[in-house]
């Protein structure tokens, strides 16, 4: 080819490092992790084929099931409550509120914080000795106890509390953007038809936010499944292993306990979980998107 071709290969050249990085460090590494999960690897990679032994180890491990159950509890409560609070606040803010920008900024600032900071702050506030429990007792409710942080049955719920605090404002921001995107002529038409405000929200505006619900759920699910830092900072997975989540399980088996094979297997399970959540959600969104 002639001079003409310079502008043809330059874009490809520009993209090639990214493509290469993606092929190696995303797809290649996923394959390696999958491969590791089928080996005898312990402290060091050991490429001896082990079949599904590591998955058998994983499924025989109570701690893994505790972490899976915790993820289910945390994930569902975190997503549902964050979305409910977020939608509620968004609808309230949508009523021509004075100082809306200021309030929005306040609701959203936790999203700028690291989960480690959030966890540290809530760990202090929820601690049974000097934290919330004592305030309520100082208010006169001397019998009040709030020991969830150190109660093995309740510790995972403290993660929900802190998680919702951090992410509800984010859900609010997305819902508010969605509400603002609703065609105002549709609302006017509904008003002319005689619908009152709650009916307009229930029957017209909220159903039209379907895609927003999808993306909010998608992102929150993503945060939940990957959640590692929040739990590390808040409970450290404790008391004992009571608030373990898969990300902590994976970290400890891979890097503290020298069980690379089991760690890899748990990482693969996390990937599968994300795909199991994402693929149907994205498929449903794409389908409803093309139907519109």
């Amino acid at each position: 080819m002639t001079v003409h071709s310079a502008d043809r290969w330059v874009p490809k050249l520009v993209l090639s490092p990214t493509l290469l990085a993606s092929l190696i460090f995303v797809y290649g590494f996923i394959l390696i992790t999958v491969a590791l999960s089928f080996t005898e690897s312990r402290l060091l990679p050991n490429w001896e084929w082990a079949g599904v032994d590591r998955y058998a180890d994983l499924f025989d491990n109570d701690r893994f099931w505790v972490s899976a159950k915790n993820l289910a509890i945390f994930g569902s409560l975190f997503i549902v409550i964050s979305m409910a609070v977020g939608l509620f606040l968004a609808i309230l803010l949508d009523q021509k509120i004075r100082g809306e920008g200021f309030l929005r900024a306040i609701y959203l600032y936790p999203m700028a914080l690291s989960f480690i900071v959030t966890g540290t702050a809530w760990k202090w506030m929820l601690n049974p000795g000097l934290g919330l429990e004592r305030i309520v007792q100082q208010w006169g409710f001397t019998d009040f106890t709030f020991d969830w942080l150190v109660n093995p049955d309740k510790a995972i719920y403290t993660v929900v509390i802190a998680g919702v605090w951090q992410s509800a404002g984010f859900a609010m921001a997305l819902f508010l953007a969605g509400l603002r995107g609703v065609d105002s002529e549709i609302i006017k038409a509904a008003q002319v038809d005689g619908a009152n405000l709650p009916t307009i929200y229930r029957r017209i505006i909220i159903p039209s936010l379907r895609p927003v619900f999808f993306s909010v759920a998608l992102i929150l699910a993503h945060i939940a499944i990957k959640s590692f830092d929040l739990v590390m900072a808040l409970t450290g997975g404790g008391p004992g292993t009571a608030s373990d989540v898969p990300a902590i399980f994976m970290y400890q088996f891979s890097f503290s306990r020298g069980q690379l094979g089991v760690g890899a297997a748990s990482a693969v399970m996390m990937l599968m979980t994300i795909m199991a959540v994402m693929v149907p959600l994205m498929y449903a969104e794409a389908k409803s998107g093309s139907a519109r």
Binding site: T18, A21, F29, A105, Y107, T120, M125, P246
Partner: protein
């Protein structure tokens, strides 16, 4: 809407704002109290005898594991890691986004989809091979290794940001410049860069927040001397040498949060735009 329900509306919103602000207030109040005051007083009370002792200890004296030099060295680590990683990933992302929108070729859409999936993976699934690779490259326990990791796994997002922005730039503009005799890079510098200010802000702020706040890569890939501030904060809180110093913990937490909070206060508009742009991806 009548006055009563309007009042109720504002009351609910104000309560929610109080709830959002409460932890920040508690952190600030606690960080300025002495340990005695913490033990005696209330969690939410303002400090009676404010002292910055906890702050100076958190900054330069508290123990984070074996070292007792406060957060300062790790705060500097975070800066040394975040700034290059943000700049590199943003610039590459900008060029990628430009190439993917205005210099399409067969397979470029497929390439973009493949990249996009990189946004969705749980990083746990790449940790083990990456740890080995960094070791093999000699980047282990170094800030350079962290920069590398953050650039590699940030590219999907930065590319997405710029692609979605440049899709809105009319193709005729690029055609006109080509007819005028400009090539790939000339068009990027002379035509696109001058109108890319907002998206650069969004991308830089997003990347800064993500990388500064990261814990997973830091805890897995950093050595004791290259730890970012989030890891050090976690160590500081976990290190128990005798009495638990909640005021130091809180001061340390605020120090670790300060840069991103500052960015949020100064450029919150772009931060929100980044969040929503990241949300409506694909």
């Amino acid at each position: 809407m009548n006055a009563a329900s309007r009042f109720f509306l504002y009351a609910v919103l104000a309560l929610a704002a109080l709830y959002a602000l409460a932890p920040l207030w508690v952190m600030l109040a606690t960080s300025f109290k002495s340990l005695d005051e913490i033990r005696e007083g209330s969690l939410i009370a303002a400090p009676q005898a404010p002292t910055i002792a906890a702050w100076s200890k958190a900054w330069s004296g508290a123990c984070t594991g074996v070292r007792c030099e406060g957060l300062k060295p790790f705060f500097i680590n975070s800066l040394l890691m975040t700034i290059p990683a943000v700049l590199i990933s943003t610039i590459i992302g900008a060029l990628n986004g430009y190439a993917l929108t205005h210099w399409k070729f067969r397979g470029s859409e497929l390439l973009f989809t493949a990249l996009l999936l990189g946004c969705f993976i749980p990083f746990q699934v790449v940790l083990l091979p990456m740890a080995r690779t960094l070791g093999a490259l000699g980047f282990v326990d170094s800030i350079f290794g962290l920069i590398f990791v953050h650039v590699v796994y940030g590219l999907a997002f930065t590319t997405l940001f710029f692609r979605n922005y440049y899709v809105g730039v009319p193709g005729e503009l690029i055609k006109a410049a080509r007819v005028d005799g400009a090539g790939f890079f000339t068009i990027f510098w002379r035509i696109l860069m001058p109108i890319s200010g907002p998206i650069f802000m969004v991308c830089v702020i997003w990347q800064f927040t993500q990388i500064w706040n990261d814990f997973l890569f830091g805890v897995v890939f950093a050595g004791s001397d290259s730890q970012p501030v989030t890891v050090a904060l976690n160590n500081l809180v976990r290190t128990s040498t005798g009495v638990k110093e909640y005021n130091v913990d809180m001061a340390a937490a605020i120090i670790a949060a300060l840069p991103t909070l500052l960015v949020y206060i100064v450029a919150g508009k772009y931060f929100v735009r980044g969040l929503t742009a990241g949300a409506v991806k694909g």
